[in-house]
């Protein structure tokens, strides 16, 4: 079970590949891996977004994501989970979040990855500030899933 907050750009596919190759998720035990990657869009509410600043509450963010991972692990009997979230300045096309879970069977993997993303979006102390053509503004609420 791993949680990482990164303040520089990352390649979720490379990171995932390295993580899996490191042997963290026990090879042979898992039959299902579900992966979710969230990427920055260049529009929100019909307006162009040029860049994004992601603020967070250092310490609480990690604790919060770890608690969610523990809850998901217990509920779906996961073999492993990985959550990576960007903070700082981002541009359209850059990955913001990676959630991956490993389980024996697909139902647990699909459900747990969905659960982690919804929990993350509603509870992890992270805030987006968008830079648009007409100025900067804090995003007030997340889009529905």
């Amino acid at each position: 079970m791993t949680v990482r907050i990164l303040d520089a750009g990352f390649d979720p596919w490379m990171l995932l590949s390295d993580y899996q190759r490191s042997g963290a998720p026990l090879e042979g035990a898992y039959g299902a891996t579900a992966v979710f990657v969230g990427t920055m869009r260049d529009f929100n509410e019909d307006q162009n977004v040029q860049s994004l600043f992601l603020e967070h509450y250092p310490g609480m963010t990690e604790t919060c994501l770890e608690q969610m991972s523990v809850a998901a692990t217990e509920r779906w009997n996961l073999l492993d989970s990985l959550i990576v979230h960007r903070v700082g300045e981002l541009h359209p096309g850059e990955p913001i979040v990676l959630v991956a879970v490993w389980s024996a069977h697909r139902k647990a993997a699909f459900e747990a990855s969905r659960f982690l993303m919804e929990e993350l979006k509603s509870k992890a102390p992270l805030w987006k500030k968008e830079q648009r053509e007409d100025g900067a503004r804090w995003v007030e609420h997340n889009t529905p899933g």
Partner: protein, 79 residues
Amino acid sequence: MRIEVRFFAGLRERLGIAEREVSVPEGTSIRQLWSLVVPEEPLPDNVLAARNMEYVDLSSIPCDGDEIAFFPPVTGGAG
């Protein structure tokens, strides 16, 4: 009791305060703490609070040395 108060995101910018150590009477609730720190600002309806980095109800009462954070609804993730 001494409390470390922190504000994040839009609240931090609007109030112009990132963190402030305050001394308040024993038994002060988190809701009352807000009024003591920023008396000129009404408590926003959608404000969230954390005590020592755990979500907490506004009616709860902190202890000496606690860190209390106020912040707007969270907007992390993507997709």
